[in-house]
């Protein structure tokens, strides 16, 4: 039996638009072996509720999302990590938050729980108090060899970036193994969403990862709207897409500049920073917030585009469009810069596929996946963006994908603004039960949101999955064999979110 058939044989639970199938614990335990023989089913996420484990899969061929669940009898469930390496960190997280153990898991060390919370298993339904518990020292994977030494970095880094610990095992100048230890920014986001209405909880996806605030808020809103069967007014759909594309543009510009800066080439950094500032100022004029935070809400958008907003956006984008070709020429024609980015931080397409890595990380290693196209959602069904795929897998390939995408996004915004439908920008939300999934392509990759509402329309279960979950482990693979000095460059070319995975 294939993994897909095994899942579909479960009892449908009525999740929309992607069905969730409830498997018996026995059927779930056959899932790892079935997955091992079925590489076309990519693992997107693994999370839980008290006593119940959930997984989201992407059927790569048809582009559909498939959810599977099983009861965790006695607090245990069969681990998926032997078949899907991307499951490892999810399994560690599930144990820390819900107290459920992945039986046969590849790695059972704690992840988010650093031993500093007042409770253990905060989402398990019956968290155990941990008064005065001593935080344990983290254990890192061992490395053996002649002349190996360690470089510990963080949690506080030298730049203005998020906190996390990187443990490098180095031989001479070469990185033998990098292991990231994250979780420093764990804020208990999921616990704060429980018991709230989707409208009241929307502040949390908007702050899961500030650079992707629009994408996560949209995915969450889409999940709530699917759960409640609410149709979003066309004008709100178009405005969401305008904001999401502006978010893509400002982040791609920012990171392109920073990558050049990390190779000691400051000019593109200065210019990209200036162009990005123009985009953010236009966003403030149009939507009242530079990062467009809290603008996408379940049911629609918080405010209509301001008078003069479209013009401000067009002006900012004209400046971007005028300068990007010149910046690209500069990027390509300086040997010192090319020397740093070409061949650096190579991510094997096989790894990208095994982890089902989305976004520019996957697309720069040949994985042709963009959630706007497949499974697809409005308004991109009528406005299909071109997909940029590179085979290089290095820092340069990731830059090239992003430059191509930002250029495409400029065109998308122009068209969206030109054809902006008239009408309402918010639909009312009924208070009733339902279960929904949202999948929205942010600048980093696909953002997934799942939520389950009770009879009163309040959130009983929720999960927000940043694409970084499947990209962080690949950074560790990409840096192997590179020199320590190239780590900032590799790291910035991935630009994974810390807050997004720390929850």
């Amino acid at each position: 039996m294939t993994a897909t058939a095994l899942i579909r044989a479960g009892a449908p639970q009525g999740a929309r638009p992607f069905e969730r199938f409830l498997l018996t614990a026995e059927a779930w335990s056959r899932l790892p072996a079935a997955l091992a023989g079925d590489p076309s089913l990519g693992l997107m996420a693994l999370w839980a509720e008290p006593g119940m484990v959930h997984a989201a899969f992407l059927a790569e061929a048809g582009g559909t999302v498939l959810l599977a669940s099983a009861p965790a009898e006695g607090g245990r469930y069969a681990a998926l990590s032997p078949a899907r390496p991307g499951a490892i960190r999810f399994e560690r997280m599930v144990r820390d938050l819900w107290g459920l153990t992945a039986e046969g898991g590849t790695d059972l060390r704690p992840w988010l729980d650093h031993g500093r919370w007042p409770v253990a298993g905060p989402l398990s339904g019956q968290p155990a108090p941990m008064p005065g518990a001593e935080a344990s020292q983290p254990a890192f994977l061992p490395v053996e060899g002649e002349g190996i030494h360690q470089i510990p970095v963080g949690p506080i880094h030298a730049g203005v970036i998020e906190p996390g610990h990187f443990r490098f095992h180095v031989q001479g100048e070469v990185v033998v193994r990098l292991e990231a230890r994250l979780g420093y920014k764990h804020k208990g986001t999921l616990s704060l969403m429980l018991g709230k209405s989707p409208r009241a909880a929307a502040a949390f996806p908007a702050r899961l990862s500030g650079d992707s605030t629009v994408a996560h808020a949209w995915a969450f809103a889409a999940a709530a709207e699917a759960a409640l069967g609410v149709a979003v007014p066309p004008r709100a759909v178009a405005l969401r897409a305008v904001m999401a594309e502006l978010e893509r543009i400002h982040n791609h510009l920012n990171d392109w500049g920073f990558i050049c800066n990390d190779a000691a080439f400051a000019f593109p950094h200065a210019r990209c920073g200036w162009l990005r500032e123009g985009v953010l100022r236009a966003a403030e004029v149009a939507f009242g917030h530079r990062l467009m935070m809290d603008r996408v809400l379940p049911g629609g958008v918080a405010t209509d585009i301001a008078p003069g907003g479209a013009e401000a956006i067009r002006t900012a984008l004209a400046a971007v469009e005028a300068e990007v070709p010149a910046l690209l020429r500069i990027y390509e024609s300086h040997a010192s810069l090319q020397d740093r980015v070409v061949g650096t931080g190579y991510l094997d397409p096989a790894h990208a596929a095994a982890f089902a890595a989305g976004g520019f990380v996957g697309r720069a290693s040949g994985r042709r996946f963009d959630a706007r196209l497949v499974p697809g959602y409005a308004p991109y069904d009528l406005l299909a963006p071109p997909i940029a795929v590179e085979a290089g897998g290095d820092v340069d390939a990731r830059v090239r994908v992003r430059v191509a995408e930002l250029t495409a996004s400029v065109m998308l915004v122009r068209r969206l603004l030109a054809e902006l439908p008239e009408g309402a920008t918010m639909a009312p939300l009924p208070d009733r039960a339902g279960e929904g999934v949202g999948l929205v392509e942010g600048f980093r990759g696909e953002c997934l949101a799942w939520l389950r509402l009770d009879e009163g329309g309040l959130i009983r279960g929720a999960f927000l999955r940043d694409p970084s979950w499947l990209q962080w482990p690949l950074l560790e693979a990409a840096i192997e064999g590179n020199i320590v000095a190239d780590f900032p460059l590799c790291n910035k070319s991935f630009n994974c979110s810390y807050s997004g995975v720390d929850l």
Binding site: W117, V119, I156, G159, P163, K185, G188, N254, W274, L291
Partner: protein, 179 residues
């Protein structure tokens, strides 16, 4: 190519914006916190160490924007440094996450006195939307002694600049502080 460029440079205005006005009350309040000796030692320049104690990274985006051509923080004598050991200011963003508390305390211990601690952003002010979570202590003030609060979610670069300039003004000799 050269002549048009030269003409543009001569006639065009700089990209960098003007400095925002600094609220006098904030300056006065900060001035009172600072001993005369400390004022002498800090002078009219500040080295800032940014510490993210658990933000959503929205604050980091705006703090980074301060360093770009549009805001050009360094023209005021303000600059970011890589270590708290070199810093006069800890600029802290995000709620005080329990998993970050030890790192925050260590960063403070490494920062030589006299020093300022600035809590930037609504989360840093009082925990923001994450207030009451099992995973956070609250605002930055729950872990570190805070001298200045800058609100906003996230605070815009202009708002951040206002706050940081208030620190500089507070360090000016008392006669120069406009009442």
């Amino acid at each position: 190519m050269l002549w048009p460029r030269l003409a543009r440079a001569l006639l065009g205005r700089p990209l960098t914006g003007a400095a925002p006005p600094v609220p006098a009350e904030t300056v006065a309040a900060l001035g009172e916190r600072l001993a005369a000796t400390a004022r002498q030692r800090l002078g009219r320049s500040l080295a800032i160490r940014e510490v993210d104690s658990g933000s959503c990274n929205g604050c980091e985006l705006e703090v980074n924007a301060l360093q770009g051509v549009a805001y050009d923080l360094e023209r005021f004598g303000l600059r970011f440094v890589a270590s708290p050991k070199h810093a006069d200011v800890l600029l802290v963003t995000g709620p005080a996450c329990r998993n970050m508390a030890e790192a925050m305390e260590r960063a403070l211990a490494c920062t030589p006195e006299p020093r300022w601690v600035v809590a930037a952003g609504d989360c840093a002010v009082d925990g923001g939307v994450f207030k009451g979570s099992y995973a956070v202590h609250g605002g930055v003030g729950a872990v570190l002694p805070v001298d200045l609060l800058i609100s906003g979610c996230p605070p815009s670069p202009t708002r951040l600049l206002e706050g940081l300039l208030a620190l500089l003004e507070a360090e000016a000799p008392p006669a120069r502080v406009r009442k």
